[in-house]
């Protein structure tokens, strides 16, 4: 799958995402990332936390080239992110993303939302994709809504459709940007349960969230970002009980 000009990276077997000293300036001159680094292993679940405006969204959006960056390097499953458009297309196929606002396509049915990309991008036969899509909807618990339009579903259901849509492309990595932040409290659990079930399936996931309980139960590692940098990286237990960094302590005081 790797673009031909990139030699397979030596650590292909276990490293999924390798971001090194990434720096990004927005067009208005604001520097959102100041040398952020992160390594995510295959099958690992990494939770990113941090104060608002610390660059969490910007950082994970660079992983599938929704944002460009000026310095540093990012490698996803052995494909180095460069400015080569072919390379970017390849990475986007392998990296799925779930957004805070769901971003389902409102003019397509739930089923069409799921099948659109696999049919067009992966060029798979429609019948086969539909079968898979229905299975995925079953798995996230909304099989009976397949023919409805997104506007007819609740927020929690919509977010579960969004997760199924990302899964339907069979990505190697799933990125979540605050998947439960715009949900009513009673719907947060149903979405987190779906994500947790996925974690058990060995999918590599990077999740930006403020849900501490979720982080403790599901994450292999928790990462704190502040002011465009990765400040602390630790196992959940250590992260929440014995953070090394003073900035992490302050952050935890605020949210706990």
């Amino acid at each position: 799958m790797a673009a031909p000009m990139n030699p397979p990276s030596p650590c292909r077997s276990d490293v999924m995402i390798q971001a090194e000293a990434v720096e990004k300036w927005y067009p208005n001159g604001f520097q959102a990332l100041r040398g952020a680094s992160l390594t995510v292993n295959r099958g690992e679940v990494v939770v990113i936390m941090g104060p608002s405006g610390s660059g969490k969204s910007t950082f994970i959006r660079t992983f599938n080239a929704l944002e460009d960056f000026q310095k540093g390097s990012i490698t996803v499953d052995g494909i180095a992110l460069s400015n080569d458009v072919r390379n970017i297309d390849a990475i986007r196929r392998e990296v799925g993303m779930v957004f805070q606002q769901f971003n389902l396509f409102p003019h397509l049915t739930v089923l069409e939302n799921l099948t659109l990309a696999p049919v067009l991008v992966r060029k798979r036969p429609r019948a086969e994709v539909e079968l898979q899509a229905r299975a995925l909807l079953e798995r996230v618990g909304i099989a009976e809504q397949a023919e409805k339009f997104p506007g007819q579903l609740s927020g929690g259901q919509q977010q579960r459709v969004a997760i199924a849509r990302a899964l339907c492309m069979e990505p190697r990595v799933l990125l979540f940007d605050e998947p439960t932040s715009s949900l009513d409290p009673e719907m947060v659990r149903e979405v987190l349960d779906v994500i947790q079930a996925l974690a058990a399936d060995d999918i590599t996931m990077v999740v930006v969230t403020h849900e501490v309980r979720f982080a403790r139960q599901v994450a292999h590692r928790v990462v704190l970002m502040d002011q465009g940098e990765v400040v602390e990286e630790a196992e959940p237990e250590t992260f929440f009980t014995a953070p090394r960094h003073e900035r992490t302590q302050r952050f935890l005081e605020q949210i706990l």
Binding site: N103, P106, Q152, M169
Partner: protein, 420 residues
């Protein structure tokens, strides 16, 4: 005079009261209003009586009867007119089918099943039937014209009934077929009208009347649509050259009156092409109309594009769709739904703008009518012609507006992503 904003408590109170009370609330909520209503009623009655008296008495409809074919198709050769009737028949059938299918397609904003003849449709169908029956008598049309007119109306209503009756059994995909049939019929129409490929050619100079008006309007609508979408995309592009190019074009066209642009088309286009190789006047005007409408349409589409949240494009891109795929499959369909009312507004304006063709000497509906008025034989009977023209234009424009509102209701408002 007292005024209130729309859903006033008064309206609710009125709904509960008896009919007489309701009438009193509507017409005479106060003494001053009663006086005003009385005056208005008198005025309306007087105007209606005047109009009726004129239409039944002084008006001489011979000017319309004698020139009905001229007004409809201009100087289109008599021997070839069967082609136009055939086309009209096909159009009526297609219109009826589309109407029926639109009804069979359940309304997205209501749970209830679609009904075969909802109230509005019964009224519209009845009106159509009445119009078809009465108009030929009222205008004393010639015999053949009369029964053709009836045939058209019958075919339309039959198509409407059949599609409404059996449309629901069709799969959803089949509905999309209607959208494909219209352009096909359009191309077929051009062939039938213009000839060639086995049919005798009829040069554009012989097209006239309502035929020319509808042809020019539909041609400009069809071609200005893709152009307008491209211009709108250009105007919202992040690439400065495309953006500024689109802005310059749109603002230039919107800054100039159409008549001056038609003037450019008639007088300067010939200089811009090599060796005087300039297309027919009619085609020149058609292209000017198209380029003109595109700029206005672009503004309508732009407002639609602005209403689609950026997250939609991001979601499409993160699924691996390419930029063009994302635009065509995700962003533009949503933008067009939002822009639909504004776009139809522009199409209505365009239909009205075709009357300006008469000012550059083309024989569209208005141009033909003015030619007839200038004929000494019909001197002093321009009012009759103006009235018929006004009714025709009003009917076309108002039905475009009605159709768009019906379509709008059928497209679920929730099917466009909302900004939070």
């Amino acid at each position: 005079m007292r005024k209130r904003s729309a859903p006033s408590p008064i309206a609710f109170a009125a709904a509960a009261a008896s009919p007489l009370k309701r009438l009193q609330r509507q017409l005479a909520p106060s003494a001053a209003d009663a006086l005003l209503s009385l005056g208005l009623v008198a005025l309306i009655l007087w105007a209606a009586l005047q109009l009726l008296g004129w239409a039944m008495g002084r008006a001489d409809w011979a000017v319309v009867q004698l020139n009905s074919m001229l007004l409809l198709v201009g100087r289109y050769p008599l021997a070839e007119q069967w082609r136009l009737w055939l086309l009209a028949l096909l159009l009526a059938l297609q219109a009826g089918l589309s109407w029926g299918l639109l009804r069979a397609w359940p309304r997205a904003d209501r749970r209830e099943q679609a009904r075969l003849w909802p109230r509005h449709d019964r009224i519209a169908g009845l009106l159509l039937a009445l119009l078809a029956l009465l108009l030929p008598f009222a205008l004393h049309l010639a015999g053949p014209l009369q029964w053709r007119w009836w045939l058209l109306a019958a075919v339309l209503l039959a198509g409407r009934w059949a599609a409404g009756r059996w449309g629901q059994q069709l799969p959803r995909r089949a509905l999309k077929l209607v959208a494909v049939l219209w352009p096909l019929l359009y191309l077929l129409g051009f062939w039938l009208i213009g000839g060639g490929l086995g049919l005798a050619a009829v040069s554009p100079g012989d097209w006239g009347g309502l035929l020319l008006t509808l042809l020019m309007a539909s041609f400009a609508m069809a071609l200005s649509f893709p152009l307008g979408v491209l211009l709108a995309l250009g105007r919202r592009s992040s690439l400065p050259l495309l953006r500024w190019g689109s802005v310059a074009y749109i603002e230039f066209i919107r800054g100039a009156p159409l008549i001056t642009l038609l003037f450019v088309g008639q007088n300067i286009l010939g200089f811009l092409l090599p060796g005087g190789a300039s297309p027919d006047r009619i085609w020149r005007a058609a292209w000017v109309l198209t380029l003109f409408a595109a700029a206005y349409l672009a503004e309508a589409v732009r407002s639609g594009l602005a209403a689609v949240p950026p997250g939609q494009l991001e979601a499409a891109r993160s699924l691996g769709l390419s930029q063009p795929q994302s635009m065509v499959l995700v962003v533009i369909p949503q933008a067009l739904r939002v822009a639909l009312p504004a776009m139809v507004g522009q199409f209505i304006a365009l239909l009205q703008d075709t009357t300006l063709l008469s000012l550059i000497g083309l024989l569209d509906l208005l141009g033909t009518a003015r030619g007839i008025m200038a004929n000494p034989e019909f001197l002093g009977h321009s009012s009759e012609l103006y009235l018929v023209l006004a009714v025709l234009y009003w009917g076309c424009c108002a039905s475009l507006g009605l159709g768009s509102r019906a379509l709008e209701r059928r497209l679920d408002p929730r099917s466009v992503a909302s900004r939070r």
